[in-house]
């Protein structure tokens, strides 16, 4: 069967009643219309307010006049372009580092027989759970040149006069952001790696390639869509991140684009919504260019099809004597990503106030911060709200992402590219700017969702759908069409094929995406902060307020409990995924 047989849903060039009826007779087109309608609404409704805001001279909600002054102010300053360049270096460095670390870790944990690989796989996701600001603070406490713990130890051991490492530098900034971004890369790359067809690797081996040759010439090139997906997502995430630059770049007097946005728009008094929206449009353009490049890279879908009907579980590589070395490498990476920052958090959570530990410290250890969690109704309520948002929100998001991914990757519907573009629009705005758009969009919405937990759910799905979409798309690209064709030949319709063939095949990507989203939803704050009402407070704002009040110990203690709950969620998700496979 040629591909035209399943090139369902192509929009007729000229519409007539007959053609419209034919279009609507295909179930997939109904799905397209439904999903397209939901995504268009979620994406365009709040974005409209922000785009409108960038062309007006009055704040949101106040009638203003059309103006281009915001664009002139934002982009006529030559300094802005220098900062964009710095941001590009930062973004490329951090996303590149995250992809390299994730590839190494994914290969060791999924493709080799290294000891403890399952444990490494589980813990690699842990940093995604922690608010990035806490990880940045941990690294400042470890590597600041004055009294960073690692520097202090090295100075003592080797009699150095000054600290060996300086976190307050561009490499320091890239290093910390790279570590923060690695779990997202890992989840996307690992999901794709799990779904690889061993046939190509076996052929290469038969033709005389060694394990290293197979890895570099077959495995990694086959991972290209996933690598590009992870790189694209993380590049934009780094460029729009403010947490790490605020902690590390500002004291180092390094200016990036987000610190400029903060100074001139979001952090100015009063907040300049119009300028924030205008900068947001700039980031949107950059993000859309990257989405376009990503689609170009992956346009020849067939060349990446690695999951076929011939069996699809990759074989494990026997590393022989190098097994321990591989585990050691994975352990070092995890020490950087998880163990060291978490040790600092653990220390923070049992100290009355953070200081460089001395022998006196042991006398002052306290469990007060954990007692606060146990005794406080507000904390309990926030945990309940966040768990609800994580489980229900991530599930809704992945359902929408799976359907969107199918439409954009598998069908030839003319407007499918537009659908993907729509998904990315809200993601490209800085978090706080989008939250303002969402607030304005839903405060006067006819269905009373404002000031309920549902508006937070809508915000999460709107903002984080691209993460789910990327995770599932990089898997669906790898699934060969022959499986769907076989299903259709056997008489199954679209829905049966989607449910019985594609969903099980996409499961690694769906589970990976669900985990990414659930862990982000457990601690998200920039959108929640503007949208929650006191009864629907999730953990993110609670952590933010405690941090704002200087309660680092409580933040660390809650952070540790969130990590524990998230690990349990991840373990359940992975177990369910395997159980269903059986």
């Amino acid at each position: 069967m040629n591909h035209k047989a399943i090139a369902i849903g192509r929009l007729p060039a000229v519409w007539s009643l007959d053609r419209a009826a034919a279009f609507l007779s295909q179930p997939v087109n109904w799905v397209f219309l439904g999903v397209g309608g939901i995504i268009a609404f979620l994406s365009l409704y709040p974005s409209f307010f922000l785009l409108y805001g960038s062309f007006t001279d009055a704040p949101l909600g106040v009638p203003g006049h059309f103006t281009l002054n915001n664009y002139i102010q934002a982009y006529s300053d030559p300094e802005a372009y220098r900062l964009i360049l710095t941001s590009f270096i930062f973004g490329i460095g951090a996303s590149g580092l995250s992809v390299i670390l994730a590839l190494t870790l994914a290969w060791i944990t999924i493709r080799t027989n290294a000891p403890f690989r399952k444990l490494f796989e589980l813990t690699a996701i842990v940093p995604n759970i922690m608010p990035p600001i806490l990880i940045s603070i941990s690294w400042v406490l470890l590597l600041n040149p004055n009294n960073g713990l690692i520097n202090a130890i090295l100075m003592q051991w080797f009699g150095l006069e000054s600290g060996l490492f300086n976190i307050y530098s561009i490499p320091g900034l890239i290093f910390v952001e790279g570590l923060i971004l690695t779990p997202l890369s890992f989840l996307i790359i690992a999901a794709a790696m799990k779904s690889m067809d061993p046939a190509l690797e076996e052929s290469a081996k038969t033709l005389g390639s060694g394990e290293f040759g197979v890895a570099t010439r077959i495995t990694f090139p086959l991972m290209r869509p996933a690598i590009l997906a992870a790189g694209t997502l993380n590049f934009v995430r780094a460029v729009e991140s403010f947490d790490t630059p605020a902690i590390i770049a500002l004291p180092a007097r390094i200016e990036v684009f987000t610190t400029k946005i903060w100074r001139e728009a979001l952090g100015s008094f009063p907040t300049n919504h119009n300028l924030a929206a205008t900068y947001g449009v700039g980031i949107l353009v950059i993000a859309l260019v990257f989405v376009y490049l990503y689609r170009r890279f992956t346009s020849q879908v067939e060349s990446f099809s690695t999951v076929t009907g011939k069996g699809f579980r990759p074989h494990q590589i026997d590393l022989g004597g190098c097994r321990i070395l591989a585990s050691a490498v994975a352990f070092i990476l995890l020490a950087l990503m998880v163990i060291l920052p978490f040790m600092v958090l653990l220390l923070m959570s049992v100290l009355p106030y953070y200081h460089v530990p001395t022998w006196e410290t042991w006398k002052n250890l306290t469990l007060d911060n954990f007692r606060y969690i146990a005794d406080n109704d507000r904390v309990y309520r926030a945990f309940g709200n966040s768990l609800f948002l994580a489980i229900v929100g991530a599930s809704l998001c992945m359902l929408l992402a799976s359907l969107t991914s199918y439409i954009t990757v598998r069908t030839k519907i003319a407007a499918r590219g537009l659908l993907e573009g729509l998904v990315f629009i809200p993601w490209a705005f800085p978090g706080t700017a989008l939250a303002l758009g969402l607030l304005w969009a839903y405060v006067d919405f006819p269905i009373p969702v404002y000031a309920t937990i549902w508006i937070i759910m809508i915000a999460y799905v709107t903002r984080f759908l691209p993460y789910g979409l990327r995770a599932v798309s990089s898997t669906i690209i790898q699934i060969h069409r022959e499986l769907e064709e076989a299903s259709i030949v056997c008489g199954a319709g679209f829905l049966a094929t989607f449910r019985r063939i594609l969903i099980p095949m996409m499961r690694p990507g769906v589970v990976a995406g669900w985990i990414i989203l659930a862990t982000i939803f457990m601690r998200e704050f920039s959108a929640s902060l503007f949208l929650y009402s006191p009864g629907s407070e999730p953990l993110g704002p609670l952590l933010y307020f405690l941090y704002l009040d200087g309660m680092r110990g409580r933040v660390a203690a809650i952070g540790l409990v969130i990590s524990l709950i998230s690990i349990i969620l991840i373990a359940i998700a992975q177990r369910l995924s395997r159980w269903e496979t059986k």
């Binding site: 009294n147 004291p251 952090g267 100015s268 008094f269 200081h355 304005w440 405060v443 307020f545």
Partner: protein
């Protein structure tokens, strides 16, 4: 008039006012219960402090209080966005002078003369916003386990002494609004000439710049940077956890005033009024002071050494253009 008669007269007047206030309280509480028995408060005052006040308020009135806390700018953003959309959810607003004046000019506050306001000094009452219930005071804070009190700076001018180079952290005055105000107000305590020179010299020492006042104080507690320009109250807040912190007794110190106001479209206006009455009452002021705040009540001070000797000087307020101009001016000095 005999002394005895005077005493009786004072007692009668005091009783009259007290009973009037209590009568208003009781009526308001009843009305608030009919409105749903709650008040919604937006503000930038620390959650623990508000939490302690809410607990006492609930015990006294049986009314519930929902508190939404964020930074001053975010609080103002949310309140004004809701108000413009015609759906303000908050009854009471608590934050500092500059955003309060912006919101006042937007016309979102109702004029409410709380009976509790009468106990504030006259110079602490704004004709439009009512009593300035607390002052947040910024000064020089240091880690006394790293800098011995004898070696600590004694004045603002001392900060530019080369021996403190690399040891001072402050919020970025080109980014952090309160710090912009602080730098711009130095002439009020130093005189213009001295202040201008000090600002130039301070910028030339390239102090470590951070996002806001709390990260500056935290770097002092961790010892990463032993001296900071930050809120003096952090000496008490971190000190009670054991951090070795102290502040330089400057005499006159700059700070910002905080106000409380009622939304003119408050969904629970009686609950809001009852909360304001209690919030600026003696009992609440004492709770606030015990949590480390400088409240504007005679004889009530935070448990900070020499707190009663600090002379508060209100920082200047700017409008949008004023802030932009100052931030631009300080960019040339501090970020070059």
């Amino acid at each position: 008039m005999s002394d005895k008669f005077k005493y009786l007269l004072v007692c009668a007047v005091a009783f009259f006012y007290a009973s009037q206030a209590w009568g208003q309280d009781a009526k308001l509480v009843e009305a608030a219960k009919k409105e749903g028995g709650k008040a919604v408060v937006y503000g930038s005052l620390e959650s623990d402090t508000v939490g302690a006040i809410i607990k006492a308020f609930q015990k006294k009135t049986g009314l519930q209080v929902d508190y939404w806390r964020a930074s001053a700018t975010k609080v103002m953003d949310r309140a004004m966005s809701e108000y413009r959309a015609g759906k303000p959810l908050f009854d009471v607003m608590l934050t500092n002078a500059a955003p309060m004046h912006v919101m006042l000019n937007e016309g979102i506050f109702a004029k409410y003369n709380s009976p509790s306001a009468a106990d504030f000094p006259k110079d602490a009452i704004d004709p439009n916003l009512g009593p300035r219930y607390r002052n947040v005071i910024a000064g020089i804070v240091y880690n006394k386990s790293i800098i011995k009190p004898a070696d600590a700076p004694k004045s603002l001018e001392d900060l530019v002494n080369p021996k403190y180079k690399g040891k001072l952290v402050m919020p970025d005055p080109t980014q952090h609004t309160t710090t912009t105000q602080w730098v711009a107000s130095l002439d009020k305590i130093m005189g213009k000439e001295k202040a201008d020179k000090f600002v130039r010299d301070l910028a030339a020492t390239k102090p470590i710049l951070v996002e806001s006042l709390l990260p500056a104080a935290e770097r002092v507690t961790t010892g990463e940077t032993p001296i900071a320009i930050t809120y003096v109250k952090y000496v008490f807040i971190f000190g009670k956890k054991g951090a070795p912190m102290d502040y330089v007794r400057l005499g006159k110190m700059l700070g910002d005033g905080h106000y409380v106001a009622l939304n003119n479209k408050a969904p629970h206006s009686s609950g809001g009024k009852a909360f304001i009455d209690y919030f600026i009452d003696d009992e609440s002021m004492k709770i606030m002071a015990e949590m480390g705040e400088f409240v504007n009540r005679k004889g009530i001070y935070p448990p900070l050494p020499d707190a009663e000797k600090i002379q508060f000087v209100q920082m200047v307020n700017f409008d949008k253009k004023g802030f932009a101009a100052k931030k631009k001016e300080y960019s040339k000095l501090f970020l070059k």
